[in-house]
């Protein structure tokens, strides 16, 4: 990156760096605030008296004796067995991502290589599908799912999430495959490979960056989903986000909001690891993929 073209004047560099620092503060402040506050009691973190209580833990000292407490974490993880929800989320997310990407790569590849008009119209229809509000879809599923006795099971939610996620996955992977030169697989076919063999031996080895990026977005969709999982899973199969929502209480009953806060902080931890791990692929993936729109 030390080429001549990317060099710039010190003033501009300072301005750009300042802007990035400002952005980092804006992006991370609410999370850091939550992280800090998750070790306080509710009376401090959601203080109506004085927001600085959340910094010093005034009520936390009164109620627990120290300025920091791990009550939120122990309450969520031990008392409320949040780990069950974590396991369910892991299963849902893992299979949703794997199946989405398998379906999506096959479909996206076909759409990218087909020169026929219907490929375009299929992409358009996929967009229309994506426009459908999820809550309407989910309400429509309920009765048939109960009648077929498939309601409440993890596989049902997984397949629904895969389907809901397909339009975006197809679009992203389709544009990614457009960027892989046609000659690559076509020359393999000239050498006697079938279309699938060409895909298997020539395309799969070079498609990983794009797949990982698309996978990140599938992952976030499944991980943060509330509309589908809250309505389609039974209590023992509940995933993290509906579980967190249940900590918040209802009109009639007081909730354990600090359990929810602690759970959210915990829920973000695996994402950090994941993003650090796949960071390079995420960026190089989009580089190769989405550029052609």
């Amino acid at each position: 990156m030390a080429s001549m073209a990317s060099r710039r004047s010190p003033a501009l560099a300072t301005l750009a760096t300042g802007f990035v620092i400002l952005w980092i503060i804006i992006a991370s402040f609410p999370f850091l605030w939550t992280l800090w506050g998750s070790f306080k009691v509710q009376g401090d973190f959601f203080s109506k008296a004085d927001w600085t209580n959340a910094l010093w833990g005034t009520r936390t000292i009164v109620e627990t004796g120290g300025a920091f407490t791990t009550n939120g974490y122990s309450g969520a993880w031990i008392e409320q067995e949040f780990w069950r929800a974590t396991m369910n989320t892991f299963i849902v997310v893992f299979f949703t991502v794997i199946i989405s990407l398998t379906f999506g790569t096959l479909g996206g590849y076909a759409l990218a290589r087909s020169g026929f008009r219907y490929a375009f119209w299929l992409l358009m229809i996929a967009l229309v599908f994506r426009a459908m509000p999820h809550i309407t879809l989910v309400s429509g599923y309920l009765l048939p799912f109960f009648e077929w006795n498939v309601w409440g099971h993890l596989p049902t939610s997984i397949i629904v999430l895969v389907a809901i996620n397909q339009p975006f996955t197809l679009w992203m992977l389709h544009s990614f495959f457009l960027n892989i030169p046609k000659d690559l697989d076509e020359s393999a076919m000239v050498d006697g490979c079938t279309r699938f063999q060409a895909f298997r031996h020539v395309i799969i080895p070079v498609m990983w960056p794009g797949v990982v990026t698309t996978g990140l977005f599938s992952f976030l969709l499944a991980y943060n989903d509330f509309a589908v999982t809250a309505m389609l899973l039974s209590q023992e199969n509940q995933t993290m986000i509906p579980k967190i929502a249940s900590f918040l209480g209802s009109t009639f009953e007081e909730g354990n909001v600090m359990f929810a806060v602690a759970a959210v902080v915990s829920a973000a931890a695996p994402l950090f690891v994941l993003i650090l791990f796949f960071q390079r692929q995420i960026v190089s993936g989009l580089t190769a993929g989405a550029v052609k729109g």
Binding site: T17, W23, G104, S284, A290, G293
Partner: protein, 342 residues
């Protein structure tokens, strides 16, 4: 690619979408044309822990007989689409014919739930989308200029707003902007107004929602743009520099055209997502001052009595709205597609 090969490649994806999206959309479209059966009501005495009352109940047997005859309900055509909860054509023409001034007419239209929701939805969509695209681009350019060691952590922090579930993210921000919260208090000091509350006035609520929308969606634009920047051809940039182009001119004439397809992609996705804005309205308890098409659907489905036909009609209107919004972008994609075919 031959039709047959194409079919087998796309089959799993198509089957999933057909079963779980296409069929439900068709069924929703059908249901939006029907309304419930006439319910036979009878008066009975109901008793409970707090005494007895004479109340109305549905006569299940009589209603079941009607239902048996027509399982889908009564055909209502496009009636639901034009009723007060949706396009409200009768109310609008009434307001137009009795108007005293144009602004009076406008405020009567804004009194109708669908148009109130549409006003916020469109404002939100058209303010958020361009700003978050520009901001995402600016952040991407800034991060791209950082020394290599800082890039990784910066990218990771930049993704935070997208990662935290909106359910809790907006709850925490909602407390931070409270009149007693850290942002609320700071704003009161800055504007020297101890009564300032972001939750009380419609204008401030809209601004809050829009700021949240930009904050939470900028990371998406940022990631896509940052990746795109990695492919900007270095030699073109250098050639432009030799020709004496300033940094701004290089961005304007080399980088941005190169990123144009990405702008189309982000616009497409974000227009659609912003048009369906929902979580922030619930999270910020903003229903008094802002509603969207999605929040109307939510209210219809989550009342004590689910109004599925009404929600179905609003959902179809949402799809039509998204289709209209995306038309310009789609025409562009169509041209690209034909160019590639040629």
């Amino acid at each position: 690619m031959p039709h047959k090969t194409f079919f087998w490649f796309i089959f799993p994806s198509l089957a999933a979408m057909f079963l779980f999206i296409a069929l439900p959309i068709v069924s929703v479209a059908f249901q939006s044309l029907y309304i419930e059966h006439e319910q036979v009501l009878i008066e009975v005495e109901n008793c409970g822990p707090f005494g007895c009352e004479t109340e109305t109940v549905v006569d299940n047997e009589a209603t079941a007989a009607i239902r048996q005859a027509e399982p889908l309900g009564r055909f209502n055509g496009l009636g639901t689409y034009f009723d007060r909860g949706h396009l409200a054509t009768a109310e609008i023409s009434e307001a137009w014919s009795t108007r005293e001034s144009f602004s009076g007419f406008l405020s009567e239209v804004m009194n109708l739930p669908f148009y109130r929701a549409l006003a916020f939805t469109l404002t939100y969509t058209f303010v958020c989308t361009p700003i978050l695209i520009l901001l995402g681009l600016a952040v991407a350019l800034g991060v791209n200029g950082l020394p290599k060691a800082f890039k990784g952590p910066t990218i990771f922090v930049s993704l935070l707003p997208m990662i935290i579930t909106p359910l809790i993210g907006s709850l925490i921000l909602f407390w931070m902007i409270d009149a007693e919260g850290i942002f609320g208090k700071t704003l009161q000091v800055i504007f020297d107004d101890p009564e300032l509350s972001l939750k009380a006035s419609p204008a401030l609520t809209w601004i809050t929602l829009i700021v949240y929308g930009i904050w939470s969606s900028t990371p998406f634009a940022f990631v896509v743009f940052y990746a795109g920047l990695q492919t900007v051809p270095e030699d073109t940039l250098e050639a432009a520099m030799v020709d004496g182009a300033s940094r701004w001119e290089r961005i304007r004439y080399v980088v941005i055209p190169h990123l144009m397809p990405l702008v189309v992609f982000i616009t497409l996705i974000q227009l659609m997502d912003n048009f369906r804005v929902f979580e922030p309205i619930i999270g910020f308890s903003a229903q008094a001052n802002a509603s969207s098409l999605s929040s109307i659907i939510f209210d219809d489905l989550r009342g004590d009595i689910a109004r599925f036909n009404s929600a179905a009609a609003t959902s179809m209107l949402t799809i039509i709205g998204v289709a209209i919004l995306l038309t310009p972008v789609l025409i562009r994609t169509w041209r690209d597609f034909n160019r590639k075919r040629a």
